[in-house]
Point group: C2
Chain length 456, copies 2
């Protein structure tokens, strides 16, 4: 029997893990340079001369939320297919050459963007750029590749969602949180739609969105902006603009007016748990500094062992074995603030949920102390600064910001913005945004009936 893991926020989890990674040497990212090519491609160069390594990332402003109706999963499927070769470079050549020079590569798809990543020593940067520019226009897809790679993504869905009861609940909650906005469908795709994705769908998405004016190049490492510019002009600079269709057009949410709940019962659940999400502004959609207040709120209310939720529910009342909160601030459109908890033995989900609601009510009534605020902010700023010591984390910060409606200046202002958040702003954010009318609450429970059926 596999253990049920709560995997609510993979991106935050990854960032947190990276933040704890290699916090050595001086902070990088001070002399960030930004410019554009005549074809509209944006370029960000982040000098980091601690080692002779460069990180090269191309980001497209196209993610699962930009998929056409009925084609869920095509952004992610295309990400896989981008490794299948071009007219000039047959399948595998790019990856093989990269491996031969000791490079690493990866790719990722979210609701808002798709990114391709390589890290290698500095002298190979132009080669990387040449390969990457080639596959911005030259992708060749044969039907047998489509069929076999579709099996790969379906298997990925099996692993990540279908065999994970908590992931299935999260998927249902996403669909209920967004009544109209395309964030309602899973990034991996609905299975029945993934099964029908074909070459035409992949090429249509590619031809619409994989355009220089829709791309952001981020290069971090032992390199100067002038060198990057010269290489970029010789490679990406040759790619023509794609035209007006590249603009993203996403349906937006109607006002959310009613509290929603969902219960998912599965025989594989060994430990019941609950999740709650609220529709909230992202850093991009927030008015004023609400995004930073929400960020601090998530930390004080549910970040780590000293949070309000953990102190009250795990340490004092002992009604939970774990509890926490998160805020997904990096998002082009309105985003989510989340809470989760696992009840202690003998405690019902309803009781844990009521206890969480009481902590929130207390928080709104009393607000955090100035000392708590300072402690949380210091920790968050330190994490943020330490995270920048990792070259790829640093590059990722800029890429994610620039593909979700933020700017280089926003990234650089974040520590100061966090520092300026007051206790009253955080309390006010809790009062305004932790509104149940904007929420979905999910209960994950064991399906005993199904277990009985299996036994008999």
């Amino acid at each position: 029997m596999p253990k049920t893991l709560i995997r609510i926020l993979p991106i935050v989890a990854v960032c947190a893990a990276l933040a704890a990674f290699h916090p050595r040497g001086a902070a990088a990212g001070a002399g960030v340079t930004q410019f554009s090519l005549p074809n509209g491609m944006e370029i960000v160069v982040i000098p980091d001369h601690r080692t002779a390594v460069v990180t090269h990332m191309i980001w497209y402003r196209a993610g699962a939320a930009d998929e056409p109706m009925g084609k869920s999963g095509i952004a992610h499927f295309l990400e896989h297919l981008m490794f299948k070769g071009t007219a000039r470079n047959p399948a595998g050549r790019f990856s093989q050459q990269l491996a031969a020079i000791g490079g690493q590569e990866n790719a990722f798809t979210t609701n808002d963007y798709t990114g391709y990543f390589q890290r290698t020593s500095r002298e190979h940067l132009e080669t990387l750029m040449d390969f990457e520019a080639d596959r911005m226009t030259g992708l060749m897809l044969k039907d047998d590749v489509i069929a076999s790679e579709r099996q790969v993504i379906l298997e990925e869905r099996n692993m990540r969602v279908d065999n994970e009861p908590s992931a299935r609940l999260s998927e249902q909650m996403g669909a209920m949180q967004y009544l109209n906005h395309p964030y309602h469908h899973p990034t991996i795709g609905w299975r029945h739609e993934m099964e029908t994705l074909d070459r035409t769908d992949a090429l249509a998405f590619y031809q619409r969105f994989y355009a220089p004016e829709n791309a952001v190049l981020v290069v971090a490492g032992d390199i100067e902006p002038a060198e990057v510019k010269a290489f970029a002009e010789k490679t990406y600079g040759k790619v023509a603009r794609r035209g007006p269709n590249v603009e993203r057009k996403r349906p937006q949410e109607p006002p959310q007016i009613a509290e929603r709940r969902v219960t998912f019962a599965d025989p594989r659940v060994t430990q019941p748990s609950l999740q709650r999400t609220y529709l909230v502004p992202s850093f991009t959609t927030a008015r004023g500094d609400d995004g930073y207040a929400l960020d601090v709120l998530a930390h004080i209310l549910g970040g780590g062992s000293n949070s309000w939720l953990n102190r009250a529910l795990v340490m004092e009342q002992r009604v939970a074995t774990s509890v926490g909160g998160w805020y997904q601030g990096s998002s082009l459109d309105d985003s989510r603030f989340g809470l989760y908890g696992t009840p202690a033995s003998g405690v019902s989900l309803d009781k844990l949920e009521a206890a969480i609601d009481t902590v929130i009510a207390n928080f709104i009534e009393k607000g955090p102390s100035p000392e708590e605020i300072e402690r949380s902010k210091s920790r968050m700023i330190a994490d943020y600064v330490y995270a920048q010591d990792n070259q790829s984390t640093l590059a990722r910060m800029y890429g994610a910001a620039l593909t979700t409606g933020q700017t280089v200046a926003d990234i650089q202002a974040r520590p100061a913005k966090l520092k300026a958040v007051t206790a009253e702003q955080v309390r006010d954010a809790a009062r305004r945004f932790l509104d149940k009318r904007h929420s979905v609450t999910g209960h994950l429970i064991r399906d005993n009936a199904a277990r009985e059926e299996k036994k008999s």
Copy 2:
């Protein structure tokens, strides 16, 4: 303070009202004739010689579920705009001429179809067809007309939804019932999208779907098929096919796996109530005779004073003042089975809901008696036959069937199909389809907090 009205299923309500209307004379619809024009337009002629009146209806296989992403309400908006004139017939001429000859007209939009209806004396049929064929291709839309008619549909939304707490709850439930299928958005449209609908959107929908090969003409009345055919060839027959884009492509639902709930609190609610819907097959998507079994189930469980729910909850236990059920069988894709109830004074919604669930559990355990089945079926068949005595109801039956994936033969077989339903089939339908994992339950409650705020 306006009274809150429960308006769960406008279409069923209308059909029921029509069924009680004019049940006089012999049943019509016996000699129904069906044929097509070379341009693909389907035509159904229903002879009814009781009076010298004809009903002329054109139905397009295009409804709210066929709208592009972000353009909710465009099917209904276009229905309004179709009265704004063509190159040949300026705005108002069609309606004025119809009024001058004592005719009536109307139009309607649902998830699956848009229809235009006129009734007049038989000698004017060809004129009607000429007007209607003209506006299949000749629509002229000026920007000032767009702006003013948009205000009309927004006002319609105010009246039908925004000022009706139960309608707002129904809208939320629809959005939660369908996680992916476009039935999740309201036919009238989300307000923020309606506000942006423009001439280009209306013409794009019109040009895609208002094509002869996507239309069904239904003529009922004192007319012979040969006459209709001759008129149709002279009018609709001149309209060219539109091409391949007319095909409907709708995202489908993923498997529904989790019970959903929603609570809507509004200060205008004077009487709490509850609704529940289950995703179920429609007549079109059902395997075998499941659609007919669901139809009988809705009647026995929740149709009228002698239903299981009414007997148990209103008459015996007195926990409800009203309770009922419905099945929306006529639907191109998977549809809904619904239950609703209003608690008696002093009874909570939770208690009423538990009582409803107990009735369902009893029903599944014991099933209906053969006498109940026979009584329900006889009543349903009689209603169905009586309904056909109303010429426009009769025409509407055929139009709705042919635009939701059914055939003339399906309509005509319905009494025999209903007659063949057994008690065991109905019980089995309850067991299989009243599955909470496929359900949404909505509670409508009074928002006392908001009332207090208003007072202070």
